[in-house]
């Protein structure tokens, strides 16, 4: 029956997406039938994922149906005057509501990021700009710690390497872990190069310096892969994120000379190298070698999973280019945000949002939240575009 509806809102909701939504909705109703017969956790999970699309689609269809009905009513010469004015009013308000519903439908159609439900690691490293970059890297670590603490996301510092040099505030590498489930989805807006413009404390001539700090948000996997979705299980050789332990070189650093009872060393640094990709993680923050080992593995798994996901996204971008020309995509190498102290502003270059209260950003408060929210909207728009492109490619292929 839905097929008969004349679509009013073609401009904002493409037929490709509508087809996709209907496909998903019919899958949902099939799953719901199966669930009423017997319960299966996997089926229930998938049905749960599809439920929002289904309900928004129903809303959208209802709106369109009523538009058709109201129009018919208005076109009918027998309709009495009072009813006619009511119908006109109704038609206007429904037409007004439709774009918002379409928008929600589009968002509901975006496939969930594979890491969306996971906790995450945030790695912060200074880029160009010398000591000033190290200083700001440390400030950013504090900013995210405070952001997460304020929201009850349970952040801990996993690794904090300070630079050989002047003060205690120079970070050469920091990794924080955010244990809350879904933290990856909240913080993934932050991956990229952050730029700071200010007059450093050490600058004698009052010149503004520009330096950069790179932030990477990585998915954090639990210690053991069991109990995870098989697609995300790094211990399962068929998973995209599988790591073969044979391909990881483990080294505990040690110099020559006497050992055993003769000496009493307190450090227990460990280094892991993923041979195929050359990814290296070293860890020495803990007194316990077991703890250093665990943390190093956690970071290694996160880095490799993120790199593989990144590679997959890159492939999709290449595909899309064929379908719709240049696609805006911000990689980890791109400048995403500027913190300007002189003007007390923070600008995100993706969403174009500017906040004129730098403190409320740097203390991880409302300002940062606003910027991140604007990026989330921007990302969702990009993802809708990408989805559209993909569906178009699919359709072309099917026609062939």
């Amino acid at each position: 029956m839905t097929g008969d509806i004349k679509v009013e809102d073609n401009s904002s909701l493409s037929p490709v997406l509508l087809t996709r939504a209907r496909l998903l909705a019919s899958e949902h109703s099939k799953l719901a039938d199966r669930l009423s017969d017997s319960f299966d956790a996997k089926v229930a999970k998938r049905a749960g994922e599809l439920a929002p699309v289904t309900s928004v689609l129903r809303e959208w269809e209802k709106a369109n149906e009523s538009i058709v009905e109201l129009k018919a009513l208005l076109e009918d010469g027998d309709t009495d005057e009072e009813l006619r004015s009511l119908a006109t009013e109704d038609l206007d308000s429904t037409r007004e509501a439709l774009p918002a519903i379409s928008d929600r439908l589009k968002k509901a159609l975006i496939p969930r990021h594979p890491f969306a439900d996971l906790p995450c690691l945030v790695e912060i490293r200074p880029g160009a700009g010398g000591d000033e970059a190290g200083l700001f890297a440390h400030e950013m670590l504090r900013m995210y710690m405070s952001f997460c603490t304020q929201r009850g996301l349970r952040p801990t510092i996993l690794k904090q390497d300070l630079e050989d040099g002047a003060s205690e505030d120079l970070l050469s590498e920091g990794v924080m872990e955010i244990e809350a489930e879904g933290a990856y989805d909240i913080l993934r807006t932050e991956s990229g190069v952050h730029r700071v413009q200010r007059v450093p404390a050490t600058e004698t001539k009052g010149r503004t310096h520009t330096s950069a700090v790179s932030v990477m948000v990585l998915p954090s996997f639990p210690e053991s892969g069991s109990g995870m979705d098989s697609a995300l299980n790094f211990e399962d050789p068929s998973s995209d994120y599988y790591i073969d332990p044979q391909e990881v070189r483990v080294e505990k650093m040690r110099a020559g000379g006497a050992g055993g009872q003769h000496v009493n060393k307190t450090e227990s640094a460990i280094r892991l190298t993923h041979i195929p990709t050359g990814t290296v993680v070293s860890m020495q923050d803990e007194r316990s070698q077991q703890a250093n080992r665990r943390k190093a593995w956690q970071i290694l798994r996160a880095k490799i999973a993120e790199a593989r996901q990144e590679a997959r996204e890159q492939e999709l971008v290449e595909l899309r280019r064929g379908a719709m020309g240049g696609v805006a995509r911000m990689g980890r190498g791109d400048k995403i945000r500027t913190y300007n102290f002189g003007q007390s502003r923070c600008t995100d270059h993706r969403s174009g949002t500017t906040i004129h209260n730098l403190d409320s950003v740097l203390d991880g408060g409302h300002g940062l939240e606003t910027v991140m929210e604007s990026v989330r909207t921007w990302m969702a728009d990009r993802e809708v575009e990408a989805m559209l492109a993909e569906e178009m490619i699919k359709e072309k292929k099917e026609k062939k």
Binding site: E168, K252, A258, H262, N264, T266
Partner: protein, 360 residues
């Protein structure tokens, strides 16, 4: 010890005035920074309010005099356990942690290859010169999921036994050890070197307790020998020679602050061809053969000493063979390969090793 370059001290001082003190023992900035962080965390945890700064300064002062970090902080991680440390008892080393892991792996590998129903399988383990009890306790943690254990930790020092007992309680309390450990691990006093002439009991005298409360039907058909069979005999005995204690091989901090009793074997009458520093191995190997230990793991100071232990074992088994006892052994020195060394933090030529003897 070479002098630290002044430039390094200045750099450290600029970063934090407490760092140069720690550098005396740590030698590198990275290591000193780590220790400062660990000390700070401990000072803040132990001393509420603002007093912690004073406490931290005192801790750093102690460290600069060479007091081991573990005696200041009061514990040392060992595997997934937290071992309390105290003056008078040797601090657990990471090398020993690796040997203990390897011993557990060997035991598990053997059980697997014999396809034993692991849960019902009882293991009798003897840890001689147990000190803090770290080896006995870590073995319980590693093996208790798969075996029904009976572990004896033996030491001559009452201070050590007292600490070992507290370590058992502490790790139970922290939940690092399973409840079963409270009855399956025991610490007892005996003298490994004694031949019945001192007041202290010998290992032979206390060992029967290890077999108490065990069903006699255990492994039917293998007779009396199996009755007295040990599954694992493990030890990190004193093995430093008097010479190496004084000539700089042993670090100053170890020499000054850790108990000599746990490091250098006492003077005693030596059997033919046995070096003074190897006397414990002589006695332990004798026990290993007498009680038909399935696996024996002995920590040694370096490869040379490990080879010496292998030699001692060879000559003991040869004389046994001459008197008609047939037994086959697989003897190896671990770690051996470059990979084994890298993964476990050993230098390819220098540093501690362990000898692993398997009775076939």
């Amino acid at each position: 010890m070479p002098r630290l370059p002044t430039s390094l001290l200045i750099k450290a001082w600029e970063e934090n005035p407490l760092l140069p003190r720690l550098l005396r023992e740590c030698r590198t900035l990275v290591s000193a920074r780590n220790e400062l962080r660990w000390l700070r965390e401990r000072a803040q945890r132990e001393t509420p309010s603002r007093e912690w700064r004073t406490r931290l300064r005192a801790m750093c002062r102690q460290r600069s005099r060479g007091v081991p970090l573990q005696y200041i902080i009061g514990d040392q991680p060992f595997g997934d356990l937290e071992i309390l440390c105290e003056r008078g008892v040797l601090i657990p080393r990471s090398d020993t942690e690796s040997f203990t892991n390897e011993a557990a792996k060997t035991i598990q590998g053997m059980a697997k290859s014999r396809n034993e129903h692991s849960n019902s399988k009882s293991l009798r383990i003897l840890d001689l010169c147990t000190g803090t009890g770290c080896i006995a306790l870590l073995l319980h943690q590693l093996l208790s999921p798969n075996f029904n254990l009976k572990i004896f930790g033996v030491d001559i020092s009452p201070i050590a036994l007292n600490l070992a007992q507290r370590n058992l309680a502490h790790n139970l309390e922290q939940g690092y050890l399973s409840e079963a450990a409270s009855t399956q691990v025991q610490f007892l006093r005996a003298d490994v070197l004694s031949q019945g002439t001192s007041e202290l009991p010998t290992v032979e005298e206390i060992l029967p307790q290890l077999y108490e409360h065990e069903p006699k039907s255990h492994e039917p058909g293998s007779g009396i020998e199996t009755e007295s069979q040990l599954d694992l005999l493990i030890s990190n005995p004193p093995y430093i020679s008097n010479k190496d204690f004084w000539n700089g091989t042993t670090s100053r901090s170890v020499r000054r602050f850790e108990p000599r009793l746990a490091l250098v074997p006492p003077q005693s009458t030596l059997p033919d061809g046995c070096n003074a520093e190897d006397i414990f191995y002589h006695h332990i190997l004798r026990l290993s053969l007498k009680y038909l230990a399935r696996v024996t793991v002995l920590e040694c100071g370096d490869i040379t000493q490990a080879r010496q232990v292998v030699k001692m074992h060879d000559s003991m088994t040869k004389s046994l063979a001459q008197s008609g006892e047939e037994a086959k052994f697989d003897v190896r020195i671990w770690p051996k390969t470059e990979q084994e060394c890298d993964e476990n933090g050993f230098h390819l030529y220098d540093g501690a090793r362990c000898v692993i003897i398997r009775r076939m």
